[in-house]
Amino acid sequence: MTQLPGLLDTEAIRKDFPLLDRVIHDGKKIVYLDNAATSQKPRQVLDALNAYYEQSNANVHRGVHVLAEEATALYEGARDKVAAFINAPSRDEVIFTKNASESLNLVANMLGWADEPYRVDAETEIVITEMEHHSNIVPWQLLSQRTGAKLKWFGITDDGRLDLSNIDEIITEKTKIVSFTLVSNIMGTINPVDTIIRRAQEVGALVCIDASQAAPHMVLDVQALQADFVAFTGHKMVGPTGIGVLWGRQELLEDLPPFLGGGEMIETVSMSSSTYAPAPHKFEAGTPPIAQAVGLGAAVDYLTAIGMDKIAAHEHAITEYAVKRLSEVEGLRIIGPTTAEDRGATISFTLGDIHPHDVGQVLDELGIAVRVGHHCARPVCLRYGIPATTRASFYLYSTPAEVDALVEGLEHVRNFFG
């Protein structure tokens, strides 16, 4: 077996993930390389979900019975865990949503309905990048259409980096919000947060970071980042589906208006008017995803016990190996950074003229799960003039042997359609 420096003990880790034992197509053990789409879940997370439902299930807040107290303690305890995981100055800055998409829409809507100085309107500008996931594009397009604000964006260079050469023209005194991804979900690019934040601060614009592809894979410290909002999603970080997070700076959350209205987010309601609870509750209308928050808390415990720095090192080693092995495949072209520098373990590529759908399908027949298509980042495909890519994405349980399996699989694909 290939040994690389920095690898985790994947043999032990993989035992925690029941799905990795799944066998498909007559006896092929699955090689799961679709982690940028969603991660698998460890036994520890499933146990937390089951324990919640079997022993403590109740609606949270306002209850005086034992189950309600327990459920509330578990739910709010999950908030403490997530706050610690991202080094939030206060637990009250952690808002639970249903996914990263809701988190990003929440930011866009808060700014659309805000009073000055935050209000986005026809006199102002919104800045994103060409590298964003659709979930960090469409909310801003909608906001721009509905307020008249101008939507601007950074382009991408030939080697899959943000083109910041014209940063002073893109981010201007009119810019109210700059929203961009920390790690590209299609190319794996890690973006230079500092440069962008410095310019945004110069002009007094708020900064929202889409950390959906960062939170699962590296140390995420919202204080070090210096952003105003950070969004991510539970299902990509060994947590359940149905839960996302928005972290926001406390003063902002205090000042900004609510988005969804309903139970839990109010202080007091009469027919003619209502007042709102302080953040985070102001932004959590209705029964929250209670079990899912508890599951995310268990996920965060799991990742923390292994160590986010160790996970990052593991993935870096796998990425270095994968980039090297993949570049040996004839006709394979990596879309995005072609070295392991400043990139995560998500690698998109094309293979000669073979359509990604065919690549993915034949790999699947070999038991290898990759994703094909535009990966909800169609502007990147348009930028490179390709209809789609094949994307292999790795995680803490990925092994060099799985990289080898992918490379062999791609050789098979080449022969099959050759």
Binding site: H355, H357, D358, Q361, G373, H374, P387, A388, F416, F417
Partner: protein, 149 residues
């Protein structure tokens, strides 16, 4: 799902290229970027030619080639019957095992039966057939139905 027949059509497509026609349509599958430009030429009620250009996966490319084989030279009613049968097969979610009667209608196209098990690929297989239906409606006017599924 990659039957030999499908791979053959993919590697050696029949009737590919754009030729003179009565109507031209351009269809796209937005989820995967498959594209086809397709022209139909009628000689009275006879399908005189179906010519096309496109990019996409082996399934969408092979399917266009099979379509060209099957429909060129047929009477419209017959061609529509073939199209309907292919549509039925593709929407069967792998539940239809083509019988002799179906094989007689669809010939090489029965090889696509396996594709119907893969929802994500059914649209690829249908792309050229929907384009053909649309182009035919345009060429012949409202006589042929216009609706695309």
């Amino acid at each position: 799902m990659y039957q030999e027949v499908i791979l053959d059509h993919y590697k050696h497509p029949h009737g590919r290229g754009l030729r003179d026609g009565d109507a031209e349509v351009h269809h796209v599958n937005p989820t995967c970027g498959d594209e086809i430009t397709l022209r139909v030429k009628y000689d009275g009620a006879t399908v005189a030619d179906v010519s096309y250009e496109g990019q996409g996966c082996s399934i969408s490319q092979a399917s266009a080639s099979v379509l060209n084989d099957l429909l060129v030279g047929k009477e419209l009613a017959e061609a529509q019957k073939i199209q309907a049968t292919f549509l039925e097969l593709m929407q069967s979610k792998g539940q239809i095992e083509p019988d002799d009667a179906m094989e007689e209608v669809l010939e090489d196209a029965v090889a696509f039966a396996g594709v119907s098990k893969y929802p994500a690929r059914v649209k690829c297989a249908l792309l050229s057939w929907m384009a053909w239906k649309d182009a035919t409606a345009q060429a012949l006017g409202d006589g042929a139905e216009r609706k695309t599924a």
